[in-house]
């Protein structure tokens, strides 16, 4: 009787572990696909006033830019940067991904949100400068081994320019940062 209980118990434990593994994998996949939370404050923007539509599209496209950047750095796929990056930002990030591939590294982000302050909107509406107060957890992995794991609060200066149907990140430069 005790032996049967033990046998059924161990089978149940194996199934539970497998189920938990599947759930954990699914949760990670969902986190990868989840759009980072971005809040835009355009109260101090100038000299041009932000249009209603632009005030919606800038945070949306910035969130999508971060999402694709995080995926590109995690999966080492530079092609993912094509959608929402251009100019120096795309050039630097592509170089970073290629460098990661060469070194066998990848970077995993857990995005805890962005507070975006719009600072400058050019009179012709062709460039916007913003300051991002970002909170992310960064893990650097060499193969499967975690070599760095830190929560980071960082400030970025961001330059965005309008493309055909979206705003693109042209410059993304960390200017300050602390570990909380």
């Amino acid at each position: 009787m005790r032996a049967t209980l033990l046998r059924y118990g161990s089978v149940f434990a194996v199934i539970a572990i497998l189920l938990l593994g599947v759930v954990a994998y699914q949760l990670r996949a969902t986190a990868d696909d989840e759009l980072p939370r971005v809040q835009l404050n355009a109260n101090n923007i100038g000299p041009r006033q932000i249009e209603d539509l632009t005030s919606k599209s800038v945070p949306r496209d910035y969130a999508l830019a971060w999402q694709t950047m995080e995926q590109a750095l995690n999966q080492n796929q530079p092609g993912l940067l094509d959608g929402y990056f251009t100019g120096f930002a795309k050039q630097d990030l592509t170089q970073r991904v290629n460098s990661q591939i060469k070194s066998g590294l990848h970077t995993r982000y857990t995005d805890r949100g962005h507070q975006l302050d719009a600072l400058f909107y050019s009179p012709a509406g062709d460039a916007m400068e913003l300051r991002d107060h970002a909170q992310v957890d960064i893990q650097v992995l060499d193969g499967d081994k975690v070599i760095y794991d830190q929560p980071v609060t960082a400030e970025y200066m961001v330059l965005m320019t309008p493309g055909a149907d979206r705003w693109l990140v042209r410059q993304l430069q960390a200017v300050n940062g602390t570990k909380p």
Binding site: Q91, S99, E129, R131, A174, N176, K179
Partner: protein, 284 residues
């Protein structure tokens, strides 16, 4: 004596087992090499993660690590990681932009009517030699170099890496150069100043066999600049049968049209929002 030897041995053993540490400078300048100090001993792996780099190299813990200038060209946050037999240790540091020496200069529009108040905007983004945005205030000199006239310049300090001005276009048509300079950077853009809307639009009519030839005087804007060829002028004929409008582009400074007119008719002319004189003609 024996106790002393034991204590010394413990200290030595503790020293050799001390955890590896890494000490990059708190701040570095873009494009300048640095040395990172480490402690510990034995074989180790050094990783440098930055905005455009993720490198990995074998080092000896406890020795200094040299990071080349070309690995530190992008301003931003860098992570230095040292992994030895006792685990991994890391430290963050920032690379700040080098001296301002480049500009991204945006001028809008490329064609502007003469005499348009604040019609031209010029925006300069200040960069260093490695295209990093230089955030500390820097004086940017904007200049206007009209044809056959003295250049005029004004200096504006950059704020968060951006300086900008708004300018009124000149009274005379033609190309004008706009410049922005900082350090060794001197960027120039050309804006074409074109005639504004037509002014004092006037027409005259001549009988040509059965038809009337309606022709404008040379079309100018209010500053006397000829309105460019291709600008549309609308001629409207109103008679007892109704109204007929014909759009004609200006050719060689004037717009003209042959109109068949029966009986009495009024002819008016307009270009854009500007209207001209009215003629009364009488056909056969």
């Amino acid at each position: 004596m024996r106790t002393l030897r034991t204590v010394a041995f413990i200290f030595l053993a503790a020293g050799s087992l001390a955890a590896s540490e890494i000490h990059p400078p708190a701040q570095a300048t873009a494009g300048k090499a640095i040395t990172i100090q480490t402690s510990g001993s034995g074989d180790a792996t050094f990783y440098l993660i930055g905005p455009a780099i993720a490198s990995k190299s074998k080092v000896q813990a406890g020795s200094d690590i040299s990071v080349d200038s070309d690995e530190l060209q992008q301003a931003g946050r860098y992570i230095a990681i040292l992994c030895a037999s006792d685990g991994c240790t890391s430290a963050d540091f920032f690379v700040t932009p080098a001296a301002a020496n480049r500009l991204s200069f945006l001028v809008h529009p490329s064609r502007v009517p003469v005499g348009t108040a604040n019609g031209i905007s010029a925006v300069a983004f200040v960069h260093d030699n490695f295209q990093n945005l230089v955030l500390k205030p820097e004086p940017v000199t904007f200049s206007i170099m009209p044809n056959n006239e003295k250049p005029v310049s004004a200096t504006r300090p950059s704020q968060n890496g951006v300086a900008w001005v708004r300018l009124t276009s000149a009274r005379k048509e033609g190309p004008t150069k706009l410049g922005a300079s900082i350090g060794h950077a001197d960027e120039i853009r050309v804006v074409e100043q074109v005639a504004a809307d037509a002014c004092n639009l006037r027409i005259k009519a001549d009988r040509e066999k059965k038809d009337f030839e309606i022709e404008t005087d040379p079309v100018h804007d209010c500053a006397g600049n000829p309105v460019p060829d291709g600008t549309v002028v609308s001629f409207t004929e109103s008679d007892s049968a109704g109204k007929t409008t014909v759009d004609v582009p200006i050719k060689r400074g004037i717009a003209k049209i042959d109109m068949p007119i029966d009986g009495r008719a009024k002819i008016t002319v307009a270009s854009g929002v500007v209207t001209g004189n009215e003629l009364e003609v009488s056909g056969q």
